[in-house]
Symmetry: C2
């Protein structure tokens, strides 16, 4: 019999996706180049040629079963070793092969990490503003996602609210830095304070609280930002990575869980992920893609365009009088809307062919997100529309 639960879920379309569909439709009327579509976080810079070359070289030099055969369940061991070595070299943590579990990007990494450290009914805390897909990700595990209200002055952590919400049912805390949608990176000070609170609460509650760190934007950090590696601050950290944004390959679905070697039962987490994957139907990312990312391990796409775009938008938005915290990374910016109702604000923006995402689904009211992973030329052309929108509607 058809599951009513999943049938009902179909009835609630994603706000972001609906806006993207609107932008595409509008593009058919006026030309997509004239729609200032800031809706989707889809990388605009190309994959490095070295990545495509690596795939071709692997196809030419490997046997069929080396290229396309089953990986062992935790992933290709040589790929896992290369990932561990790179993390160790870059961040000074003693990762080894057995700490790395290859996943279908960050979504899959989070799906595994949460199941490792919670049981149904446990609480997982995250911080607004947050990626709305965390709701289905966590709900499907049986754990309950609770959202700590935002510190809207800085979009760092609202520690007062956090401490009020902590209780013995909290088994995991899920963070995302640099952050979608705010663009803010958690500072060393923020992460130190977070770790200090978690260590104290572990002691008080008599059980571990795991920090699940969702890091798809780790490599997109702007000049001057303090964006340290999360796992350095707290032993019980599971780092969830994706190459989607750093190599501009979101469709290849490739990432990993890196278990802090000092975490409780660190040696058990990857074997547990293997067991979890049997039930989620995951069973490893593509073999050839695993090997190709390993060949490009310390490489990224040319990500500089995102910083260029951020600076253009940040200047224009502040010039226009918006309240906005300057992003430290990602390709998002999260200004305060010019009226209380962000949905109404974004609806009005459509008249100027500006596609902005209201903040409500990110767990904050009165803000909006712009995903500036688009050509700089288009960002520049959008400024006139932005000015016209603000001047006509709000001055």
């Amino acid at each position: 019999m058809i599951s009513q639960h999943y049938k009902d879920m179909c009835a609630t379309p994603s706000v972001i996706r609906s806006l993207a569909v609107y932008a595409t439709e509008r593009g058919k009327e006026i030309g997509y180049e004239n729609v200032f579509d800031y809706s989707l976080g889809n990388p605009s810079v190309p994959v490095p040629q070295a990545f495509n070359d690596a795939i071709k070289r692997l196809l030419d030099t490997k046997t069929s079963s080396q290229a396309h055969g089953y990986s062992p369940n935790p992933g290709n061991p040589e790929v896992r070793r290369i990932v561990a070595d790179s993390l160790k070299r870059r961040f000074g943590i003693d990762y080894r092969t057995e700490h790395i579990f290859m996943t279908s990007a960050a979504a899959s990494a989070i799906a595994h990490a949460v199941r490792c450290v919670t049981v149904p009914g446990d609480e997982v805390l995250t911080f607004a503003p947050y990626f709305p897909e965390y709701n289905p990700y966590i709900n499907a595990t049986g754990a309950v996602l609770k959202v700590v209200p935002a510190d809207t002055t800085s979009f760092q952590i609202n520690f007062t609210a956090f401490e009020e919400m902590l209780n013995p049912k909290v088994q995991a805390v899920l963070i995302n830095t640099p952050n979608n949608p705010s663009g803010i990176a958690y500072s060393s000070e923020t992460l130190s304070k977070l770790a200090q609170i978690l260590y104290a609460k572990q002691e008080e509650y008599g059980h571990e609280i795991f920090l699940i760190s969702d890091e798809p934007y780790r490599e997109i950090v702007f000049a001057g930002a303090d964006a340290p590696f999360v796992s350095k601050f707290y032993d019980n950290t599971l780092c969830c990575y994706s190459w989607s944004k750093s190599l501009s390959i979101p469709g290849e679905r490739i990432g990993y869980v890196a278990v802090n070697p000092k975490a409780k039962d660190a040696e058990m987490i990857v074997p547990m992920c293997v067991q979890i994957s049997r039930g989620t139907g995951h069973n490893c990312p593509s073999s050839i893609i695993q090997q190709a990312v390993a060949e490009c391990i310390d490489m990224t796409s040319d990500l500089s365009v995102y910083e260029t775009n951020m600076n253009i938008l940040y200047k224009e938005l502040t010039d226009l009088g918006f309240t906005v915290v300057k992003p430290g990374g990602t390709f998002y910016i999260f200004p305060k809307a010019l009226e209380e109702d962000a949905v109404a604000f974004c609806e009005k923006a459509k008249k100027y062919d500006l596609i902005l995402v209201p903040s409500d689904s990110f767990g904050v009211k009165g803000y909006f997100r712009m995903a500036y992973c688009i050509d700089t030329e288009k960002v520049e052309r959008s400024l006139a529309a932005l000015r016209e929108f603000v001047n006509k509607e709000y001055k």
Copy 2:
């Protein structure tokens, strides 16, 4: 806090995998070419060159975002159309794009299909002998897998036992034809009778019973076998396919769910799969691999070696006095052991460097599985060992 459930699962290693590890270790002592390793179902024939060429051509001709960008959640729409058209052309069922959901091979297809048509507590029936991974696959959904005892005379369906086990809690029936481990394909007669019973029980219980058809071996069918397309027999069928065996690309994790257009709520199943994928962390197979299989849609590896191997083994086994039903497909054969305890039988076989898998974990006692996806030359060399084993131990 670490999940005890998944931690405990780590303590029960797979029998097949343990045997494969033994074979590898033994290979280090005497040379792997001298170990007659019939343990793993890992395709031995190479990928078609056309598949690798397709990947290279896609990398050369597509833009970065066409090659590696996000697919829409149900999969690349052009790929889904090509899959639907191929199924329609080959099997005469009116599949359209909206009936195809791209998955990370059959494991992921089953994970989605079962969640679509059951809720926790429902029963799913399957038939012995069966692929033991069905246990974790189904258990993780919350549904309960129950195994119908085998008809060991033919390894078709034991309908008497099936009808006794049917009850209103059964919401899905999971079949695998051609079958791992028996190698048997369900005949038209078997599938007609199965459909007839399911139609009657749907009527009686007042709810649908879905047939989930796991078909990774669909393209490996031997001369003379009656191995019809399952979905033709029963409207409420979800076909779960994988290219792992047909194109020898098990590591690429690519397959689909094809929803019978006549199924109840057929138009809802793919959108529901999308919702399910948000919680399992699946979110589409690799973009480039999706496009490459579409370019090779009606192609397979040269699968003839499997039939050659089957015929050699079937003749030798029957000459040696084994009771064995001749396989209609796959690369498995499932003879009766020469003593009641198949585990003891397979343990003795190790002395002759024959790696055979006892049937116990497939839900039948007293049989063993040989996976003959190995070189024919090695199959031929193994016959002397097989003869020596039988003559020394059992004559």
